[in-house]
Amino acid sequence: MYSYKRILVPTDGSDVSAFAEQAAVDFARAHGSEIVTLSVAKPYPAYAAAEASMAVDPGLDDQALRDWAERNVRRVAAAAAAAGVPCTTLTVFSHSASDAILDAVTEQQCDLIFMGSHGRRGLSRLLAGSETQNVLAYAQVPVMVMRPPDKSGHRPRP
């Protein structure tokens, strides 16, 4: 049985992500849950071959990525603060967003994941193709997949 008290909210700063973030905050406020938000900074491909050195020699690109991830989680933290929801922010460097998300679920003892989806185009760009599948297939906790309303039309709030 899940109590849904600690919700992992991965974010990539996109609009689709924003929709899921707000839904997670609303849900957390209604159910007295906390939020753990995570932004995964993916090292640029050039670094992929030099993963070992990257850890000890972060360059300017790394700093830019770190700043980007920080901005993403701060947006969630601000929404949570506005709703009076406790929020922990995490940023990690990882080549695999899905691995980072699955690790965070375990380490942070989360019992629910909230993520955004583009529908036909898949989950937010944070999770391309197989990574989406990995999270949905391997997460030991339920995954709430939120679809933002189409820009053309309206739909009732969830």
Partner: protein, 170 residues
């Protein structure tokens, strides 16, 4: 004070009402489809818990395939469409009864619905709309789990086509 004119004030008051409502019930009616698989059974139990936690109600749903004279699906093999209809209704009732039982055990209001369709994902999305559900809760994979396919094909299709949130249970 209460008669403040202008659309802003009335919008604000509506917004505040809406947020009060959503504070109580983010999700009010949850569609829980089943295909009789073990994964669905687990999702049903989790769904009943979730609904209780949220104060929501459940619509249990199953889609059974249409009659075919020739089929690789043993559930569909029957002599006549009439026999088939009886058989598949019985099967649907049996599987829906599991949802009813889980809902009762959790003290959650529940209704059960059966549709005949060869496209379960369409039937699921259609049912969610027809019964005014605001969430679909389903297993990440169903009966046709194939090693190597991490995510069930129907779940995948519901995720792609549903405009409602989908809560995926492993």
């Amino acid at each position: 004070m209460n008669e403040v004119q202008g659309t802003n004030a009335s919008q604000a008051s509506q917004a505040s009402e809406a947020s009060q409502t959503s504070r109580r019930n983010i999700f009010e009616r949850i569609l829980v489809p089943t295909d009789g698989s073990e994964a669905s059974q687990r999702a049903i139990l989790a769904g009943a818990d979730f609904a209780r936690e949220l104060g929501a109600e459940i619509v249990g749903f199953i889609a059974t395939p249409e009659f075919r004279v020739l089929s690789a699906n043993p559930d569909v093999l029957a002599d006549t469409p009439e026999q088939y209809a009886v058989g598949s209704s019985e099967r649907a009732e049996r599987l829906l009864a599991d949802i009813g039982q889980a809902a009762r055990a959790a003290g959650v209001p529940c209704r059960l619905e059966h549709a005949v369709s060869d496209n379960p994902h369409e039937a699921i999305i259609d049912a969610a709309g027809r019964f005014n559900c605001d969430l679909i809760l389903m297993a990440s994979h169903g009966r046709h789990g194939i090693a190597g396919l991490l995510l069930g094909s129907e779940t995948q299709k519901v995720l792609v086509h549903s405009k409602l949130p989908v809560l995926v249970h492993r």
